[in-house]
């Protein structure tokens, strides 16, 4: 019995590629966040493996998580999901009750496997919850400055715009900071991130101004608040977000405008970056080069066009992130309420200890 199931497991796991699954999930659903995609991928992994003991499952999860993290250039967002999944499994097992050690391990397994869609739905619902919490921030006549392509911010702004015409009409304006990095990389055919939200807002009758990143300091005087999204919220309450967020935070602090972060609580990640260069990812943002170096690189590139298997994965410049420290953040609008940055560590402590 055991051997046959083992063989079956081996049969099924072989073709299962967690990295490909993860990428496929992200591509197939543009509304999916990285942590949720990671959780989904792990759930699918469990469906493909027939592990029946706890330690076997945990081991499998750990290995696949490590593999996934290594294969993705920016694993900060997804590690929030994998950590959450792992902790959930462990705490549920330790907690007495139906799904605990006294109960059947199969029960928790089937729960996870059968409720994959539910998790995604909940994750998307949390965005609506955030929008409901955050609605109070957008007042009549206010001007909001935002950046990036955060779906949570987009849903918050659209929610506020939707109310227009209703009994609680909010007349607000948006200054949208469009990233310029994608153009400089020669991908000018692709429109900058966030254009979709801009269009949607304009359609709803919200006046939107788009400005380049260089005009943030100039434009902030006209804004009442800054609302940004985040890729991950770290332990001290700071955020890891699209490159350029840090400088907006600094400028907002200097000008004295409130700086709000919109993020789902599943983006809280157990990471304590001490500064910009302490993030566990490779980014080639600052590159010192002399004429010689450029020539050298060109030569290498020409030689490597055929055999580029062994290059270490790096984040493309347009996907680079920076770290915004907590003292710049006025409040985090999450699905569990409006939190101060220091409340983040508490939420994390709750699940880890």
């Amino acid at each position: 019995m055991a051997t046959s199931s083992d063989a079956a497991a081996a049969d099924v796991t072989k073709p299962f590629d967690i990295v490909a699954t993860y990428n496929e999930l992200l591509r197939s659903d543009p509304d999916l966040t990285m942590p949720i995609a990671a959780i989904e991928a792990l759930v699918l992994l469990l469906t493909h493996s027939a592990s029946s003991t706890i330690s076997e499952t945990l081991d499998l999860l750990e290995k696949s998580t490590a593999h996934l993290k290594k294969a993705i250039p920016n694993p900060i967002g997804l590690s929030a999901g994998t950590d959450l999944f792992q902790r959930y499994l462990i705490t549920t097992l330790q907690r007495p009750g139906q799904l605990g050690p006294a109960g059947d391990f199969k029960a928790i397994r089937t729960h996870l496997l059968s409720n994959g869609r539910l998790f995604i739905r909940r994750a998307k619902e949390s965005r609506h919850k955030i929008a409901a919490f955050g609605r109070g921030f957008i007042r009549d006549g206010s001007t909001v400055l935002t950046n990036g392509g955060s779906r949570a911010v987009a849903s918050l702004l659209q929610k506020a715009a939707d109310d227009e015409g209703g009994p609680s009409a909010v007349r607000f304006r948006v200054i949208y900071v469009l990233s310029s990095t994608s153009q400089t990389l020669g991908q000018s055919s692709e429109e900058p991130e966030g254009m979709e939200t801009v269009r949607a807002l304009r359609e709803k009758g919200v006046p939107v101004a788009t400005i380049p990143e260089s005009a943030v300091a100039y434009a902030l005087g006209k804004a009442d608040m800054v609302i940004v999204g985040a890729e991950g919220v770290v332990e001290n309450g700071g955020i890891v977000s699209r490159m350029g967020t840090y400088q907006i935070g600094l400028l907002a602090k200097a000008i004295g405008k409130p700086f709000y972060v919109v993020a789902e609580s599943h983006k809280f990640v157990r990471l304590y970056p001490l500064g910009q260069y302490d993030l566990p990812i490779e980014q080639r943002v600052i590159e010192f080069q002399s004429e010689e170096d450029i020539a050298e690189e060109n030569k290498q590139q020409a030689a490597k066009t055929d055999a580029n298997a062994e290059t270490p994965i790096e984040l493309p410049l347009c996907d680079s992130v920076d770290f915004t420290p907590p003292h710049l953040i006025s409040a985090l609008i999450t699905d569990s309420g409006v939190l101060t940055p220091s409340a983040v560590s508490e939420e994390l402590i709750k699940i880890w200890f």
Binding site: I39, L84, H111, S265, T340, P341
Partner: protein, 436 residues
Amino acid sequence: MPSTSSALTPGLASFLKSLKTNAIDTSIENLISLLKRRQIRHSRSCATATAYLLLRVISACRTSDSAKLIERVQSVGRRLVAAQPREMVVGNIVRRVLGLIRDEAEDDREAEYALSEAGSESQPHTPRAFDDPSLPLDRDALSVRPEGSERAARSPLTSMFSLLSHPEPEASLPSTPGSLSPSGRLPGHGPAKDVRAEVLEGIGEIIDELGQVDDQIAAYALDHIHSNEIILTHTSSTTVQKFLLKAAAKRKFTVIHAESYPNNHETTHITVSGNASKDDEILSTESFQKPLIDLGITVILIPDSAVFALMSRVNKVILGTHSVLANGGLVAAAGTRVIARAAKVHQTPMVVVSGVYKLSPVYPFDFDSLIEYGDAGKVLPYEDGDLVDQIDVQNPLYDYVPAELVDLYITNLGGHAPSYLYRIVSDHYRKEDISF
């Protein structure tokens, strides 16, 4: 202006007196109109009035069904808050009472659940089931709630796990009381203890807390005021006075008192000199209190405009407040923000003393709406007829002070950094009651 201490002046004392004799609805209307007319205005008076009123409301509610109690308290609370939305303590007390009812109802349900569990499955249940019935007993007057953290961990809403959690109440335990509304379950079963009596006891504790708050805060005074320090304070606050008096019993220091013209300077002068009959709205015991000067403390009375000039010599700023908000900011008497700014510029520590009951879970989305405007005649007397016609006079009563200007909050639970206040908020109020 409550200048004469006549028994006929409508205020807290007359309200409490009438509460015993009047019908509930009359009392509610009475308090609403007192709040609207600002005849009850100090934070603590509002809190006390609200607590006593709710005590009456609940004791008159002839039901021990928690859902009905909650509904009743909510409807009364909504009317009180609507009467004076800027007195946030009213909402705070209502939320505390709602939390009490919910706690009791949950304790009840859990005890019942634990009983049925133990009976049917004989499975060793969590220690929680045995702890909980004992909790209401050892809840002390300090209102340190040992179950606070546990409740937070238990509540599915606050946890990050809510994303993954099992849809337990609906799916797996369809027949347990957890999924049923308490209204359907509790009365039929004849609950072991009376929810209403427990809640009344809890409100009694809140009222006790309101009475003791200042003394509890004052107990921390010696930790913060040292010999030969120069302390700056502003306007007349009983909490601050008691705090300073407590320290003055043991130490010699100097107090610089900004007078807060034009809204509260008369009371401030009385507080400093100590010779006048105080208005009876603040509890009468305080009027027998010795002023600081009697204890040999040098008190320097200054106009508000001199605050910045003197700030360089001040060791510590100790202020009272009207209410504290969830983000760590506070709403306090007009002039506070100037002092806080000056303290920041001089890197002088700024300490705010406030009872936990002033801590509001409301997030200040719109600071302007929190500020109340008072009688413009105090700034420019109406006798100056010519000027009154020509200029626009404003007299804000309160200031909003952002959290980053405050270094430390001292509540009856101890000293807290402004960034820690969210924790106290989540310990004292239930999430579902924040917007009741």
